[in-house]
Subunit: 207 residues, 2 copies
DNA sequence: GTCTATAATTCGATAGAC
DNA sequence: GTCTATCGAATTATAGAC
């Protein structure tokens, strides 16, 4: 038995504590933002003392970075699932609409991680943002490709720059986490639908 | 001469220092955000020591609140100017387009105050947000009325809720301050135009 | 009005007992 | 692995000289 080999339940126990801390951090970060989220509160939610966090993580920023990274992954997975359900032969117009609905739904329903990522990005230290730059660029590029694909197949207008419009769409979608709450009379599918149809089909009446 | 009556140049001197502090605070707040903006740095930009700020303001939050309030006022004025130039008899569709271009241009060109307001709002203390709630609600309501007006005159579709779309449009426009820089090859009028035509006329090709 | 010096907190991080 | 105790740094805010 090598030194790195541990009993299975011991591995699971350590992993579970780590996950509990990340869950707690995502919760606090999504509600308070980066600066206002204290290790004391994160530890309290995880039912620990603040000092104990350092056995599992090197620093506050290490916790924040991992939370945000998980949030980005969750969002990407949700979009992929929606797109693969729509099918590869759907038009760029339809695929963009599906992606918008999938993403808006994902970031509002049951994911403190994606909300923490959205809320804390600008506020987080430069080092953290640099460490996440590749993942975020990849995320943004996904939207750019989606739009460019629609421009190529003729279902989306090509007199605007996909890079600019992608940023705009991402920001518009992210804004829902700032005001939508589950107890609203308006369900999130309705909101997602309005977002998609407005950004993709426009607000102008075609009557 | 009443006790509150001061020599004109003395009034002006005090006001000028106050303005210099607000200018410095807007600069730092727009670049660093609420938490990372320290009084030491604000004072340095204003060419003072941190302690001296307290002769002019009661607290950091008092400075922040006033900067944000000025930012909101600047934005509102820019939109009003654009709309009055467009004329009262323009369609809701056209007035909304004009307002988008006016606002996007205003928040990127030459106004640390509007950028500070956009960047610091979510991060600022609850008391600050409550104090600005009326002004911000009024700002948002302006966009809602603009959209509803277009829905009434038939130039904008009425199968979406103006309240939801207004929030979405505001967030999309605000996002430009996060990435656009004056030295970009793409001028801000071009960006504003793309934003307006995409959100109002849509991304779908009408060919 | 502005400066220097410092009080008062808060928070991230570390050390050592258990 | 977790706790208690504490260090050290940063920051808002105050006090008093000038």
């Amino acid at each position: 038995m090598t030194p790195t080999q541990l009993a299975p339940d011991r591995i699971r126990k350590g992993e579970r504590t780590r996950t509990r801390i990340l869950d707690a951090a995502a919760d606090v970060l999504a509600r308070k933002g980066y600066a206002a989220a204290t290790l004391t509160e994160i530890a309290a939610v995880a039912k620990m003392q603040a000092g104990s966090l350092y056995y599992h993580f090197d620093s506050k920023d290490a916790i924040v970075e991992e939370v945000m990274r998980v949030g980005i992954d969750h969002a990407r997975d949700a979009i992929r699932a929606g797109l693969s359900a729509a099918g590869k032969d759907a038009s760029g117009h339809d695929r963009l609409t599906v992606a918008v609905v999938a993403y808006v739904t994902a970031i509002t329903i049951d994911s403190d991680f994606t909300q923490a990522n959205i809320r804390c990005f600008e506020e987080s230290p430069e080092a953290t943002r640099e460490n996440l730059a590749v993942a975020l660029r990849e995320f943004a590029n996904g939207w750019v490709r989606l739009i460019e694909s629609g421009q190529r197949d003729g279902s989306l207008r090509d007199d605007v720059e996909a890079q600019v419009i992608a940023r705009m769409i991402i920001a518009a979608m992210n804004s829902v986490v700032g005001w939508w709450r589950p107890d609203r009379e308006l369900d999130i599918e309705g909101v997602a639908g309005m977002f998609a149809t407005t950004m993709v089909d426009g607000l102008a009446s075609n009557a």
